[in-house]
Symmetry: C2
Subunit: 220 residues, 2 copies
């Protein structure tokens, strides 16, 4: 039986990200934990993060137009929670978390050294929706910890020890139950269609090839 309830945000699971931004002159960089985040475009690769205008990080995002999305490990849940429950106005979050800033390649925001995946973004759109503003960022570079890549440079999901946000709770991932395209063989029916739930190319060959790491070839 279906039970109707009032409209609320129940989409799940959603990613948990630590967004790092450069601080103002003389101030440390800031980190904010967000779960209102998602992939929004394949080409160019883009993601979105939603931030309340009252947040300290919102003003920094507005001024800088550049940010890094750092994906935490499940064993960093304490830092994730801390960065979602303190403000950069009175807390140096890098120091509070024991995190170290590392210079990014393409943007002025710092990366969090301790996070296994760091995604450099440049803001391309901002949309005021109500309680939150949506920032659409183009992904301009990605960095991986060596240990989450296999010997061919492909991302090993299990090695990431990823964290998901599920209805107010932090959850680990469980087990793989299939790869994109498994019902139609190794190759998707249409590459064009496959990319709606893909592509998630691997970290890729050093050549920068588009051939992805999905075992089902969804990224091809």
């Amino acid at each position: 039986m279906k039970i109707q309830r009032r409209p609320t945000n129940v989409l799940l699971p959603v990613p948990l990200v630590l967004v790092s931004v450069a601080g103002d002159e003389g101030s440390p960089p800031d980190i904010v934990t967000l779960a209102w985040a998602g992939t929004v475009c394949s080409a160019p690769p883009m993601l979105s993060v939603s931030v309340r205008p009252s947040r300290h990080s919102y003003a920094l995002l507005q001024r800088r137009h550049e940010f890094v999305v750092n994906l935490p490990r499940a064993r960093q849940a304490r830092q994730v929670d801390l960065c979602g429950n303190t403000s950069g106005r009175d807390t140096d979050k890098f120091a509070a978390c024991g995190f170290h800033p590392v210079a990014a390649a393409r943007v002025r925001a710092p990366m969090i050294a301790e996070c296994p995946i760091n995604i450099e973004c440049v803001t391309r759109h901002r949309l005021s929706l109500g309680a939150h503003d949506l920032f659409v960022g183009e992904i301009v570079a990605v960095h991986y910890d060596e240990e989450v890549l296999d010997e061919h440079g492909r991302l090993q999901v299990a090695a990431v020890d990823a964290l998901a946000y599920v209805h107010g709770e932090y959850w680990t991932l469980g087990r793989k139950v299939g790869s994109y395209g498994f019902t139609v063989g190794d190759a998707p029916v249409e590459v064009d269609e496959s990319e709606d739930v893909g592509p998630e190319p691997s970290a890729g060959a050093a050549s920068g090839s588009d051939v992805g790491g999905s075992q089902a070839g969804a990224g091809a």
Copy 2:
């Protein structure tokens, strides 16, 4: 050691959703699998889905301005993959999946009876980003299968048997490692701040109370 790779969409995990839309006159309703989806605003509650203009469902979304986001169970991975690898132009996806359409309360798109959570949405914004258009939908009603709610009407995450999209792979959830606010006690420091990674209120009391189901009170 950090290894830099070309920019790709590596945000993970992201949700896997089955978006249902009303068909054209005389045609069955359509279902499309999407992973480029996310929560984007707390108030009003909003989510986004990104769709390629070449998709059959894109035209339907454009014309109808209404859709339902159905959250699948991990044991529905086959249907999820099928709806991502076939087109509604030549496939009746409800029939192909053994799914049954159920009338929604507020929109003309059908809900998928077999999915444990159904989120009714009305399109409020559309943004052309490149390969994908982003549709921002306001959530106007939510339906739950009775068995995913406890006796107080609170959502039981484990009962959902949720599915995540992780770098071309379908994954189950693992285990809960904390609740929002666990580093600062039961109550978040600031309700306003808590809502950046929340609120994810429970299915709620029949009163429609705003007090949520998060064990840490993040939805309060």
